[in-house]
Symmetry: D2
Subunit: 153 residues, 4 copies
């Protein structure tokens, strides 16, 4: 996935993304850090912890999905006007390998930006010692909304 | 979604599901309770809490996905032989409305069981005072695995 | 899937659906007939023919997807205002069994209508002599568009 | 999507793919040509024709899905042993732009091969004069099956 260069509609996009990220309770729960924000791209990392596991001790597929959804959402949000909020319409996750490791890196990238609809792609890697393994992918469809009650960026 | 009646391969299916559920770290983090297990169906509930929110204070779409994935998985697992473990191959979530409420109910039901591949459908409702609203749906594809290292039911 | 009763925005919905259906070249190719149009629901049928097969002689999964997509689209379109056109944003198909039979029935139903975004669910059954078998399901996300060049209902 | 180099299990993979492709009735209907077969990758092309259109005269989203599903399937099949048949478990399509053009190119690539489950990604481009535009993407999950009645490669 080569990243095409996108032009953000708002120069303050990175601050908007970081401010919104800080309000995400679930991501705090997972100890997720936002490690990069670029136009049309965001990267997050989180460590293995008991709080994110499923029954075999690996990272829960749904937690991977939650972080990929967030990374895809901020990738889309980074290209939107300053007064837009972003809503996920749908997402689809494929699990490629058990999410076994110490650290997990998640990337969201815009595939196709749009005034209303944006499509982003997510990838999740497990880092286990020296090894890095692609463990999950996402396709995510997002919508820009304006002036909707209770939904701000 | 009328539930067809399925015949479990193992009479002890409910105990297997409950024992596996207890080992799910992420679901403890979300305060999820398993409220029903039947052949081909499982139901879970969790309350609103700061730990499961996104930036607008609603339940994070990814947390809904994680709980629906689990409910779909146990619906499938309930029909499998006693020596099977269940892995999610992929899932797809549609968000229908903001997940605003005090309590969230999630149901997984088997649509098509199979020796190797099972397809389950998930639904999530937000309960807000007297109101109950369908907020998300899932289609989930699962695989029965046998004798794979590190993966037990 | 019990069908909730939906209120169409335009009383002439069935005529609009039928007129649009007539312009679908691919569906003529597959010999698809539109057998029912109701508010939020459409049903189509097509016979087995060489033109719709894959390498094993069953109906091609992609042809099932094409007809389910169309049925989901018209289910959504039936609830839209008279000046709206409908575009598919995305769809997801699960194949449950080989599509073996003489006749194939496909149904699209609206799960959640919306001003901009509508979510529909599709089902496809193979009719083989006396037997009727669910062979595929779809979740489909559609968008109402207004006044866009080249896209009319 | 950089293509990793995959090792085919059977040196005669390209002949197997071409022989199977020849038996696809639906693809003949769409005038699809198989233009490339490599380990883990296949490419197909088809011209605009009345037979593949939807109501606005563009290529039907479902036809794009059918061809992408096929390209994804042969990408997976190219890496399988000589006695395997390939079945699509599920696929998901995102439509990025109206499929307007004279010629359509579709590529399927294996993202993650597996003994039982393979995940492929599809892309479809519309070629309109000098312009080439990405119009749709797919994620497709496939299964290798062995010795199942009525299903041969």
């Amino acid at each position: 996935m080569a990243v095409p260069s996108f032009e953000p509609a708002d120069a303050g996009f990175a601050d908007r993304v970081r401010a919104s990220f800080e309000r995400q309770g679930a991501l705090k729960t997972f100890n997720v850090a936002l490690t990069a924000v670029e136009p049309g791209r965001s990267v997050m990392e989180f460590p293995w912890s008991e709080q994110v596991t499923q029954q075999h001790g690996f990272v829960h597929a749904g937690v991977l999905g939650a972080v990929m959804d967030t990374a895809c959402g901020y990738a889309a949000f980074s290209l939107m006007p300053a007064d837009a909020a972003v809503l996920t319409i749908e997402y689809k996750v494929n699990l490629l390998a058990p999410a076994r490791g110490q650290l997990f890196r998640v990337q969201g990238e815009v595939l196709k930006p749009g005034r209303t609809i944006t499509v982003s792609e997510g990838r999740a890697w497990a880092l286990d010692g020296e090894k890095e393994k692609l463990v999950a992918t996402m396709t995510c469809t997002l919508m820009a909304v304006f002036g909707r009650e209770g939904i701000q960026h």
